[in-house]
Amino acid sequence: MRDALQAVLGPVSEPVLLAGGASKEAWAVDAGGERLLVRRAAGGVIHRHTLSLRDEFAVLEAAYEAGVKAPRPVTYIADLDGREAFAMERLDGETIGRRIVQKPELEAARAALPHQLAEELAKIHAIDAARVPFLTAAQLERMVDELDEFGEPHPAIELGLWWLRENRPPERPLVVNHGDYRIGNVVVDEHGLVGILDWEFAHLDDPVRDLGFGLVRAWRFGVDDKRLGGIADVEPYLERYNELTGFDVRSEELDYWELAGNVAWAIGCLTQAQRHLRGQERSVELAILGRLGAEVEYEICHLLEKAAA
C-alpha cells in the first residue's frame, strides 16, 4: 500500500488502516507534511444507491469549492493497488456520536452546532446541480422496492410509507442533498463544527429531506429530549436555515421529513442485516441491526401517534 501511494502522492509515511469493511477501507497517511485520509474500495459488494468513489470525490470537490466545511479533496486515484480510491485532508476532532452529545468539554460546541449545521446545509443546498450531473433524484417508491426485496412483513414501515404518501407536502424544487446529514457524520472540536464527512449518499431531493434527517431519534445517541441530534432543540437550527435560504420551511414539513428519515433508516437497518445474511459482509454488528430496526419502527408509531393527535 505504501508503494502504491508513493507512486501517486510522492514520499508518504507508513499507511495505517483505520477502518476496513467489506466495501470500503480508510487509511491514515502523511504526505508532504499533510495529514491525509485515503478512502479505498475494498472489493466487496457496494451498497446500492451509494456513489462510486469517483463520484463521491466529485461531490466533495463541488462542496469544498462552494465553501462547505469539508475535508479538502486532494486527488482521485483510479487504480490504487487494483482498486479505486481518493485522498482527502484528515480532519482533527471528534466524530463518535455518543461522545459528541455527552462529553462535558464539548458543551460550547453543542451550543454552536445548531447554527453551524444550518449554515453548512444552506451552502450544500446552494451547490449548482449542473456541477454534479451524475446525481439522481430519490423517490419514495425506491424505499418500497427495497422493502419488497427482503420479503419480510413490517407493518410499521408499511404504515409509515402509507402516511408519507397520503400527507406529502407541496413539492419543493430539488436541490443537492448530502443524504446522510447528521451527528455521526460530522467532525466536531471544542469550538463546534470542523467538517462534514461521508458524501456517498448524496443525491437530488427536497431540501427539507436533508434538514429533517438529523432529527431521527437514532441519531440522538441516547439524549432523546434534544431533537436535533441529541444536542439541541430544533427551532434555532430551523430559523437559521430559513434565514439563509429564504425557503420558509414550516415545522410541519420538518415533522414529515423526520418521519421519512425514520422510515428510511428502518429500511436501512434491514438492508444492513441483509448484507450479513447474504454473505456480502458477515458481521454481528450488521446482523443485529435486523432486530434493532424494531426500535426505529417504534419511533415511527410514536411519530404517527403525534401526527394524529
Partner: protein, 105 residues
Amino acid sequence: MSERPTAQELTEAIAEFLGGEILPTITDHRLRFRTLVAMNALGIVHRELDALPPEDDSARRELARRIRAGEVTPKTLEQVKADVEARLRIASPRHLERYENGRAE
C-alpha cells in the same frame, strides 16, 4: 419465518465472531479453553433451535398486506404498535422502558 436474523442465525453470527475474531487473539490457555466451551454451548442452542417449529407470522403478513393495499382504519396504528412492542420486548426491552419513562416530550 418473519424476524431476520432468526434466533438461529444470530447464534451463527456470534459463533463466527467468537471463532474468527476473538479466539485468535486469546493467548491465555484457560480463557481459550473456556471460549471453546462457550462456542460448544452455542452449538447446542443452534441445534436445539433447529428442532423448533418456525414462528407463525401470518397475522403480521396480513396486517402488512392490508396497509399496503390502503386498508387503513383508525384501529390500524394500535395494532401495528402492539406488534412492534411485542418484537421490542425480545429485541430491546430497555429501549421500550426509555420511552415509557421519558414520555414528557
